[in-house]
């Protein structure tokens, strides 16, 4: 199993551009998550999904959108990139909500200038 994979690994965006961060898992997990990690701030939940077609906001959803058309994929969309979205983005998946372990992808480092 590849686990959770994310593309791209790195990306530089100009202010106002848009992009999609891809996340795929091959563990047949129903639950998937997007986090952002900023230095000294830990991980903050952006959006999560409990199954195909079902998504919900996390702690910091503003400026992002998600969709979940299949069990495997959970892309994160940035519509109008802002410098405040410079961060490392992690996707994760789990077989259930609490208290199941979440498995993390390798991350995408995004810089908005």
């Amino acid at each position: 199993n590849a686990g959770v994979t994310q593309t791209p690994k790195f990306r530089i965006l100009k202010i106002g551009q848009s992009m999609t961060l891809q996340c795929t898992q091959d563990m047949n997990h129903n639950y998937m998550y997007w986090y952002r990690q900023d230095p000294g701030m830990g991980l903050k939940l952006i959006y999560y999904s409990v199954g195909a077609g079902i998504t919900d906001k996390g702690e910091v959803p503003n400026g992002y959108n998600v969709s979940r058309s299949t069990t495997e994929d959970f892309p994160l969309r940035l519509e109008l990139a802002a410098p405040s979205q410079t961060s490392v983005y992690f996707c994760a998946s789990s077989s259930g909500l609490a208290p199941y372990e979440q498995y993390f992808g390798p991350g995408t480092r995004l810089t908005v200038t």
């Binding site: 000294g40 909500l97 609490a98 390798p106």
Partner: protein, 114 residues
């Protein structure tokens, strides 16, 4: 909503020293507790977790943590650290109520000098 506090942002130790990283949470009900580790340039990996039962939990690589309900704490310990333990450590909590998701602490960066 639950929250997690990690006491130290940075810890520097010499090899073979003992380690204790503090973690406190705020939530009045039943919790599930986790410690994740992030080695330099890598993604988060689970070190150990507590759901119920014995409050002393043993994880991978010689780490352990003790859940003390009366103190709302879940401190991480290791008797003798190695240079390879240099990493960032995150405490996280989730509850059993509804669609509870993981709440992370801000992390503790551990630097072990050889």
């Amino acid at each position: 909503a639950q929250s997690v506090s990690q006491h130290n942002h940075h810890v520097i130790l010499s090899e073979a020293a003992s380690l204790e990283l503090g973690c406190n949470y705020s939530y009045g009900g039943t919790v599930n507790l986790f410690w994740y580790v992030q080695y330099p340039g890598q993604h988060l990996q689970l070190l150990l977790k507590y759901f119920s039962g014995d409050p002393l939990v043993k994880g991978i690589k010689g780490f352990e943590a003790e859940f003390i309900k009366s103190k709302f704490s879940f401190n991480l310990r290791k008797p003798s650290v190695q240079w390879s333990d240099t990493a960032e450590y995150f405490c996280a909590v989730t509850t059993n109520s509804g669609y509870s998701t993981l709440t992370f602490g801000k992390g503790t960066m551990l630097l072990v000098s050889p």
